[in-house]
Amino acid sequence: MTDLLKTALTELHQELGAKLVPFAGYEMPVQYPMGVLGEHNHTRTEAGLFDVSHMGQVILRPKNGTLRDAALALETLIPQDVADLEEDRQRYGFFTNDTGGILDDLMFANRGDHLFLVVNAACKDQDIAHMQAHLSDVCELTVITDRALIALQGPKAEAALETLIPGVAAMKFMDVLTASYNGAEFWISRSGYTGEDGYEISLPNSVAEDFTRALLNHEDVAPIGLGARDSLRLEGGLCLYGNDIDETTSPIEAALIWAIQKVRRTDGARAGGFPGAEQILEHITNGAERKRVGLRPDGRAPMRAGTVIFADETTTTPLGTVTSGGFGPTVGGPISMAYLTKSSAAKDTTVFAEVRGKRMPAIVCALPFTPANFKR
């Protein structure tokens, strides 16, 4: 095996009995002794702690000192409203390509004198090169390598984190806060990727293990691996880059239109001006030919990524393909996300998925599968 990268918490994961697997070049915990189902349920009812230090943390600082100029520069790469994002607020976005596909999705925050970005581990090298190539006239780009990133998710996350960092309970969904813990600077956002309330915390590597141990000492907090992270985000209707969105899916096909603010759409004050704008704005106006939807298989057999979907039990022309699928522990049954043709994507449509040579019925449903519990 080639040398896998470690995070500041790898040794702690081993001590906790995690099963470590290669993921995006890192050695990451896929599950702990509690097991994927137990970890999933613990996050929904208590609080789950995730090491997401493999993700990329990047700072964009305006060279002229004017944050709005850095924000407008970033707007040339993403179709989101960055310039009007208030200080200490965060937003979800995605880098687009010239054909209107998605290069990566990300979170970006206005932290006063700079923008703070979190990007996917598997895409971070290309994201950084992309930003260097297009933003370096206006922005100084700093790749953060000395900080860990952890997520604390679930209904007990607020109370658990408040015991260590007073003040976080007052944050609302997508708020950002700079806090101090034993003299170390923490960058906290009230966000995550499980559909639960919770926080993502960027903290210096030097204190990451101590702080994580302090959180795990709380009776409601348990460590959670990538296995449960995947079933949690799937139930939450959230896209996994590389599965549910990629360079060939437009944000409109992906049902991410909500993440493109009006100011960037046709007739908006800063309409277009991002890669693939023509295609994406055309999709907003006229609709796309296919759409990401939820599927509830009839029966218990999971319909996993790659499963082909048909209109009935005999036709040979597919309607689309499952992009993520498995068992939803909170739903109590199998769930999938799929891209379907426009005409078959309406809620309550019955479609047929080919599983092990058999066509099995499934019902098109709205996303998410489990209601989001964000603190608005």
């Binding site: 097991g35 994927v36 189902l37 218990r300 999971p302």
Partner: protein, 119 residues
């Protein structure tokens, strides 16, 4: 109890063998979320894929360990497949097979040999 290289266990009572998967296999698969059982009355041959199990990670087949006829299946697993993880050698049994030729079991491993096999 006998064990196979496919990580199944068999417990023979008369000419009926109860079959399940080993604790080692259950651990490696992770929490089971789905099981598709064979039909009672079905005649099967050794190495036929007769059961589909899916864990939180992936789908796998369970092969018939020998020739015979399926005489009973553990229906409780359909709604509670994690019983296989919780009690793989007991309540997590999967099917009972009427063994065509009991001498087929003679070459299977004893527990000590299986433990050495997975070590």
């Amino acid at each position: 109890m006998k064990f196979t290289e496919e990580h199944e266990w068999l417990l023979l009572d008369g000419d009926i063998a109860t079959v399940g998967i080993t604790a080692h296999a259950a651990e490696a698969l992770g929490d089971l979320v789905f099981i598709e059982l064979p039909e009672v009355g079905e005649t099967v041959s050794k190495d036929d894929a007769i059961v589909v199990i899916e864990s939180v990670k992936a789908a796998s087949d369970i092969l018939a360990p020998l020739d015979g006829e399926i005489v009973e299946v553990n229906e409780a697993l359909v709604d509670g497949p994690t019983e296989v993880n919780e009690d793989p050698l007991g309540n997590g049994w999967i099917f009972k097979i009427k063994v065509a030729d009991a001498s087929d079991m003679e070459n299977m491993m004893e527990e000590a040999a299986y433990n050495a096999f997975i070590a």
